[in-house]
């Protein structure tokens, strides 16, 4: 890749990162989406536990989030938990940027923007991983991956960062 193309990607990435700060509403949407994504990712690390606890009473929501945050820290370390947070924030930025593009470009561009969704799902799966692998009978599979699956989470984060860039 030539210098100018790298430079162009960096510029677009910086524009994407800064986009949520261009208005209070965009900042709030980004924070809200990031919080929702973080909760989903953390709950998905032990889906049967989350389903049982929240199915019994939604009041256990904070208990589930706190317990699984601590569990993620203990099993994946500070780096693993940091990557989950980073992915959640990056997804918040990507979603805010996508909504902004729809508002500016109109519904005609919505189909093109729908291509973002599979990317977000793919990077989300890479980021949470453990719980989903457990659901398909591969409990502990992440423990066998390099760095307890943190490489997989990093891949999810990089993919989310790629998606958060504005179009040319």
């Amino acid at each position: 890749m030539s210098d100018s193309r790298v430079q162009a990607h960096v510029v677009r990435l910086l524009e994407g990162l800064g986009y949520p700060l261009t208005s209070v509403r965009r900042t709030l949407v980004t924070v809200y989406v990031a919080a929702v994504i973080y909760c989903l990712l953390v709950l998905s690390t032990f889906p049967t536990y989350s389903a049982q606890l929240l199915g019994a009473d939604i009041a256990y929501f904070d208990e589930a989030i706190l317990a699984l945050t601590a569990n993620t820290y203990q099993t994946a370390g500070a780096v693993g938990l940091g990557l989950v947070c980073g992915y959640a924030i990056m997804t918040g930025i990507a979603v805010t940027a996508a909504v902004g593009r729809v508002r500016v470009a109109g519904s005609q561009n919505a189909r093109r923007l729908s291509a973002v969704l599979p990317g977000l799902l793919a990077s989300g799966c890479a980021s949470c991983g453990a719980g989903l692998l457990g659901l398909v009978g591969l409990a502990g599979a992440l423990a066998t991956l390099p760095f307890d699956g943190n490489l997989l989470r990093l891949a999810g984060l990089l993919l989310a960062g790629w998606l958060s860039r504005p179009p040319r």
């Binding site: 210098d3 100018s4 430079q7 162009a8 960096v10 510029v11 990435l13 910086l14 524009e15 990162l17 800064g18 986009y19 949520p20 700060l21 261009t22 990031a34 973080y38 032990f46 049967t48 536990y49 049982q52 606890l53 019994a56 256990y60 208990e63 706190l66 317990a67 945050t69 601590a70 569990n71 993620t72 820290y73 203990q74 099993t75 370390g77 500070a78 938990l81 940091g82 947070c85 980073g86 924030i89 990056m90 930025i93 457990g134 659901l135 009978g137 409990a139 502990g140 423990a143 066998t144 307890d148």
Partner: protein, 251 residues
């Protein structure tokens, strides 16, 4: 060459700082939640509940041979407890919920707890599970409560997965700190019986997977008279166990 304007750069830097701050905050909170769990008051192992050994098989298809049974053998409910010594969620259950369950349901004679190893987090987990079996073989006849003392001590000393804390040598060091347990005998047991014990544990793990258990801690509460059972997974609060026990008891 294309360059970002200063406003874009300023926003990007601010967003990056916000991301780092938010991430750091959550990681710090995770660390605090972790350290908070270790300060929870534990049930003293020395005045723990009664333990029994049995060679019977339950109506649910669990072979009690080789598994410690906590509580009264006449308790109407079985609680099968699958765990891994390297699993932090198991430690959370042991510290936050198990003491309450023992006080409320085991001491009262309603529930007996059957300890079953479910090692799935690597070599250290298997080593700890094999040592668990050797400890039980050593103490089950004369001083079965020593098992509880060892079990609680190991969970209290749980370290980071894969850090070496669950190596055979370190676990033997921990074992030497437990009164009434001979670490040398445990070492001999592991050398002579490891493959046989591992095979038995593998059978338990396979049975757990057939029951749909995908992580630990995991529990099945079973009413032996009514032949009804309920499943709980994860370190859920004591209130959830109360509900499950009541439901299965009245089934």
């Amino acid at each position: 060459m294309e360059r970002p304007d200063s406003q874009t750069t300023r926003r990007a830097v601010l967003a990056s700082l916000g991301t780092v701050t938010a991430t750091g905050g959550v990681v710090y909170a995770g660390a605090q939640l972790d350290s908070g769990a270790t300060e929870t008051v534990r049930t003293s192992p020395t005045d723990g509940p009664r333990f029994h050994s049995s060679s019977e098989s339950t109506g649910f298809g669990i072979d009690l041979d080789g598994h410690p049974v906590m509580g009264s053998m006449d308790a109407p409910l079985d609680m099968y407890y699958w765990s891994d010594y390297q699993c932090p969620f198991c430690r959370r259950f042991e510290e936050n919920t198990f003491p309450t369950l023992i006080d409320d349901h085991v001491r009262s004679g309603t529930v007996r707890v059957i300890f079953i190893e479910f090692p799935y987090l690597g070599e250290g987990s298997i080593t700890a599970a094999v040592m668990d079996r050797c400890i039980w073989r050593q103490v089950r006849s004369d001083e079965p409560r020593r098992y509880w003392q060892w079990h609680s001590t190991v969970y209290g000393r749980q370290g980071e997965k894969g850090s070496g804390w669950a190596s055979k040598s370190n676990l033997l060091e921990i074992t030497r700190e437990v009164d009434g347990v001979d670490a040398d005998t445990v070492d001999t047991c592991m050398q002579e019986n490891r493959s046989e014990i591992e095979s038995s544990i593998a059978t338990d793990v396979e049975r757990a997977r057939r029951l749909g258990l995908r992580g630990s801690p995991a529990f099945i509460i079973y009413n032996r008279n009514a032949d009804k059972a309920g499943k709980l997974v994860g370190a859920q609060p004591a209130a959830r166990f109360d509900e499950a026990i009541t439901t299965v008891e009245n089934a």
